[in-house]
């Protein structure tokens, strides 16, 4: 039986669409299958758009640096405004403990050559005018990080992938994976069956269920976060602000002002709310408002436009699961992004393409070591 497609990508979201684009660019015949009806209809549109390279791990740092190149260069190269803004990330410290952890991490990050520094409270206030400086000990600031708007970005990637010949099947659910001799042979959906040489699982929340269809197991569990966007106003502060301090009902939250002037933010409920239910409860707005207005009183006047609930497809250690499945030839995991699919997606798309086309870069093995599907999943990434 001849292969209709070289690669079937399952999931047309933040991870699947850039992967399809990268694969199609290499001349591969690519089919993308999604049960929704257009790109990014699950968690891409819930992402707030932060893109940073200042992680703690070599692999994520390298992948994100490549993503930043893709995001930041997109408009110049292709003409679409995807809302890229080099506004940087910042982590203010209000306790000695946080300050110590941040400074320790800073050394590691600088060791990887990242553009990140420690700011005094005074310097930080100049970047975020009006932020509460009571007890502020300083902040890390990484001006090379930034943000892009997920909705225009994924549509730009999507139309570009179409131009390179990628095909999409909308409104189809994957129901089975056909294998032959320890190798993937076809992807079955509720409507048809597609013969292929490779499958890339980019199914986000459904990563575990889709892997299970192939007899594979990945420890990915959707974990709810809630977000919102405000009316647009003139730019009044610079970087993404990540408040690490836990509160009785929530862990960290973070916010920034996007290129169009909207403030976008997201909070992590504590205890975690597991599952993929995206309907909003009444808890979120008062919970996040109290914390954000206390930290940054200027926000009190800003009007809330929309709120939503989305998921981090979490892995036990906070790192993604990317790479070939040792048990099944032709199957590539590209899942478990832990809320960072939007920022990792473009870089990972190229990495996955290099795997499939067997054209690895020198450091791909080092990158993939931390993302290995069979790793021990011990510990948790710092400031995830």
């Amino acid at each position: 039986m001849s292969r209709a497609y070289d690669v079937v990508v399952i999931g047309a979201g933040s991870v699947g669409v850039p992967a399809a684009l990268s694969l199609a660019r290499q001349g591969l015949r690519v089919l993308v299958i999604d049960r929704c009806h257009s790109p990014g209809q699950e968690n891409n549109k819930k992402a707030i758009g932060g893109v940073r390279a200042t992680h703690s791990d070599y692999g994520k740092i390298q992948v994100s640096l490549r993503s930043i190149e893709i995001f930041s260069g997109w408009e110049a190269e292709h003409g679409d405004d995807i809302g890229w803004l080099s506004n940087g990330y910042s982590f203010p410290a209000y306790s000695e403990d946080d300050a110590t952890k941040l400074r320790d991490l800073l050394k590691v990050q600088k060791g990887y050559g990242l553009d990140i520094d420690w700011l005094s409270p005074h310097e930080y206030e100049a970047l975020v005018p009006g932020i509460d400086t009571t007890g502020l000990l300083g902040a890390t600031y990484s001006p090379g990080d930034g943000s892009s708007m997920p909705l225009p970005a994924i549509n730009a990637f999507y139309f570009k992938s179409l131009a390179h010949g990628a095909t999409y099947r909308w409104g189809e659910s994957v129901t089975g994976i056909e294998t032959e001799g320890g190798r993937v042979r076809a992807v079955r959906t509720d409507k048809a069956s597609y013969a292929c040489g490779w499958v890339v699982n980019c199914a986000g929340n459904d990563a575990a269920a889709v892997s299970a269809l192939a007899g594979l197991s990945v420890p990915v569990v959707p974990d709810c976060h809630e977000g919102a966007v405000t009316e647009p106003v003139q730019r009044f502060f610079g970087p993404m602000v990540v408040d690490l301090r836990p509160a009785p009902d929530s862990a960290n939250y973070y916010f920034y002002q996007n290129k169009e002037g909207h403030v976008v933010f997201c909070i992590t409920p504590d205890p975690p709310i597991l599952g993929a239910d995206s309907d909003a409860t009444s808890v979120f707005l008062p919970q996040v408002a109290r914390r954000m207005v206390a930290l940054y009183p200027r926000l009190a006047h800003l009007k809330i436009r929309r709120t939503w609930r989305g998921q981090y497809p979490m892995t036990p250690d906070g790192f993604p699961i990317v790479g070939c499945a040792p048990e099944l030839a032709g199957w590539v995991h590209n899942v478990g992004m832990c809320g960072q699919g939007f920022m990792l997606g473009p870089g990972l798309g190229e990495l996955v393409t290099r795997i499939i086309t067997a054209t690895p870069n020198n450091d791909d093995d080092r990158i993939l070591a931390g993302f290995h599907p069979k790793r021990r999943f011990k510990g948790m990434e710092v400031f995830k």
């Binding site: 209809q41 009006g130 106003v233 309907d279 909003a280 009444s282 408002a289 926000l299 929309r306």
Partner: protein
């Protein structure tokens, strides 16, 4: 500085209110205490409140209802909706040019818990349906909370200065809408079980079955057992070249400005749409001393009541049926409108264009139910009932009945032994919902003696106060006692009660008793702002406004109790029965320009999304590219992602899909998200007001 305040009104009292000074872009403006900023500015002749950050287009009043953000201004440094924010003495108000700047915080943040409230029934909307439901619920001892986003209960009723149709015993026919609204509010509040929050906007029905409510600036969470959605309707918008100019808005906004705030937002307007809403708005304009250059209706006949259309025509407002609006013309605000005749496919016919000078275009092309609360409550698993326009677009009189039925239905779920719902209620509601029926030929009596009424009421509509009020029971209805057309048979005593009560101003009295050759004709008149007195010479007209003669007014009798005047003429006997009213608006107002102004833009340049400035053409191009998911349209163009939350563009987008031959079942629905109305973040941080507010 111009004065656009209504100082006297034929129907509405004009209260004396304390003047306060505010500043518009640093210039002093006289405002009235407790009025909203937008009305203070409009009263001072300021219509452009800023310019859009995308394309620099002029922004101003649009919904006058807190639902959009086109009227945003900066008040004391903070961007606010001018239509919802009351003036304060000394307030510094600035136009928004591009994106507003966020002020610096000057005080410590106000943080406190959000108050939660439990009730049996939450009624969203204190209009005719919600109040009528609350009356029934209160009577049966059900703990009911009515919330309404206005300062006064009554819904759109309180904006209605015309006499209502229906029947006297069931729906107060003959009384004016504002009187009915206040009467219902008093009845609802009579019960100890019924609590009311005014200035209270429902923001969302959350999954945990709590309803977020912004009450007088404070956020509350209400947990009801059942929700009654009686939130009414919102107006549809229309696509045409120039639809983005300042000075184009709905009839509801117009009624709010004129009849609630007593300001005159326009000197001369043009109306699009001949349903009851458009026709009534035209009448309200004349009552407020505003010129009406004309009304355009696409169908061969107005969809509203014939008596409403006739009333306008008689006063001198032309109604252009089988016409459409081609374009609005002007630099940044409306300066004129061009209309054209349309063929049977609704395409405009070249060469038939006419342009009329006007400064405002009222869009009255139909209503959509405000159904989001119903949808979200259902999604959350919270029992919900809808009534009134939120359920089905119909007249206010039927909304009262449907509200009562809804109240009784809800009570049956909550109260043991609640009464059955009388079948007569829904039968009555069906009658009051009836669309206008066929039109009879008018037959005139040849009798030239005695005194009798002439009924210029030819179309079946649910209305019968004339028969109720006649002291000798001489006015009867053909067929149905409410829907049927009235006829006279009996012995008229000439009291004129039928003339004074008829909501259509469609009954006159002809009296031959003194002079058979020149009988006295009595006609109703409600425009004391265009005063007539004995000796005034006016042009009298027939039922649909055709001129009959110039006659001198013989007498004017003022009926204080219903603010109607009876105007008498001595008329030649051959035309006496045909006289229905007289022209008040000079013909020059509605005369087209010698040369029409033709559109400079194509229909695809019209805006679909006013908030994010998305054109018909952009949407069409994406549909042709294969986009079927409204969420993807949003993602690419930002359509529907602005402050109004797709309330305006939703129905327009579907029209473009239809034009492109995409059946509704192939369209993927837009995902709706909290909150339905934009609210300052600080409101969610504090259940109680802080010292700085």
């Amino acid at each position: 500085m111009s004065d656009n305040r209504i100082r006297s009104h034929p129907v509405l009292p004009v209260p004396q209110r304390e003047a306060v000074t505010i500043y518009w872009n640093k210039e002093p403006v006289q405002a009235l205490r407790d009025e909203v900023i937008s009305s203070a500015l409009i009263a001072a002749g300021i219509h452009v409140f800023g310019h859009h950050h995308n394309d620099g287009s002029a922004q101003g009043i649009y919904c006058a209802n807190g639902q959009c953000a086109k009227c945003t201004v900066i008040a004391n440094g903070v961007p606010v909706k001018a239509c919802m924010t009351k003036v304060q003495a000394g307030m510094m108000v600035q136009s928004v040019e591009g994106l507003p700047a966020l002020p610096e915080a000057t005080t410590a943040p106000n943080l406190s818990d959000i108050q939660e409230v439990e009730v049996d029934v939450l009624v969203i909307g204190g209009g005719p349906a919600g109040l009528s439901a609350a009356v029934e619920l209160g009577r049966l001892g059900v703990r009911t909370l009515i919330i309404d986003d206005k300062s006064e209960l009554g819904g759109k009723l309180v904006l209605q200065t015309h006499k209502f149709f229906g029947s006297v015993e069931d729906s107060y026919a003959g009384a004016r809408g504002n009187e009915i609204g206040r009467m219902l509010a008093r009845q609802a509040l009579d019960s100890e079980c019924v609590e009311t929050w005014t200035d209270a906007t429902a923001l969302y029905v959350f999954k945990d079955r709590k309803v977020g409510v912004l009450h007088d600036g404070r956020y509350r969470l209400v947990t009801p057992k059942i929700v009654l959605n009686a939130a009414g309707a919102r107006e549809k918008f229309l696509r045409f070249a120039g639809n983005t100019l300042s000075g184009i808005y709905g009839a509801g906004a117009f009624q709010t400005l004129v009849n609630r705030d007593l300001v005159r937002p326009t000197r001369r307007l043009f109306i699009v749409g001949g349903g009851n809403v458009g026709l009534i708005a035209g009448y309200h304009a004349l009552q407020a001393g505003i010129e009406v250059a004309g009304l355009v209706e696409a169908m061969p006949q107005c969809g509203g009541y014939r008596v409403h259309a006739d009333k306008l025509r008689r006063l001198g407002v032309p109604i252009h049926t089988s016409h459409t609006v081609l374009c609005a013309n002007g630099e940044e605000s409306v300066e004129s409108v061009t209309i054209a005749r349309i063929d049977e496919n609704f395409a405009s016919i070249a060469g038939t264009e006419q342009t009329f000078i006007c400064d405002t275009l009222l869009i009255a092309v139909g209503l959509n139910p405000v159904d989001e609360f119903t949808r979200e409550a259902e999604k959350a698993g919270l029992p919900v009932v809808a009534a009134g326009d939120a359920d089905e677009i119909a007249e206010a009189s039927s909304a009262m009945f449907m509200g009562r039925i809804a109240g009784l239905r809800i009570a049956r779920d909550l109260v043991a032994g609640a009464p059955d719902i009388p079948a007569s209620l829904s039968a009555k509601a069906d009658i009051l919902k009836a669309h206008p029926g066929c039109i009879d030929e008018q037959e005139f009596s040849t009798l030239r003696e005695g005194v009798y009424p002439v009924l210029h009421c030819l179309q079946e509509i649910p209305c019968n106060p004339c028969s109720t009020v006649c002291p000798t029971n001489a006015i009867h209805m053909k067929g149905d006692p409410i829907l049927g057309n009235p006829y006279y048979e009996g012995s008229c005593v000439g009291c004129g009660k039928c003339v004074a009560i008829c909501p259509g101003l469609a009954i006159t009295l002809v009296d031959y008793r003194k002079d058979r050759a020149h009988p006295t004709v009595t006609v109703p008149y409600e425009l004391s702002n265009h005063p007539v007195q004995p000796g005034s010479v006016v042009t009298v007209v027939d039922i649909s406004g055709h001129m009959l003669d110039s006659l001198e007014v013989a007498a004017v009798v003022t009926m204080k109790e219903n603010m109607t005047q009876l105007v008498r003429f001595k008329a030649p006997a051959n035309i006496a029965a045909h006289i229905v009213n007289f022209i008040v608006q000079p013909q020059s107002v509605s005369r087209p320009l010698p040369q029409p102004t033709l559109p400079t833009q194509t229909p695809d340049d019209a805006m679909v999304c006013l908030c994010e400035r998305v054109t018909v053409g952009e949407v069409r191009a994406l549909i042709r590219k294969g986009v079927r998911d409204i969420n993807q349209l949003k993602a690419i163009t930002r359509i529907g992602m602005g402050p109004c939350g797709a309330k305006t563009c939703d129905s327009l987008v579907r029209q473009v899909f239809r034009e492109e031959g995409i059946p509704p079942e192939r369209i993927v629905e837009n995902t709706s998200r909290p909150v339905f109305v934009e609210v300052p973040f600080g409101v969610f941080a504090a259940g109680e007001r802080g010292s700085h507010e």
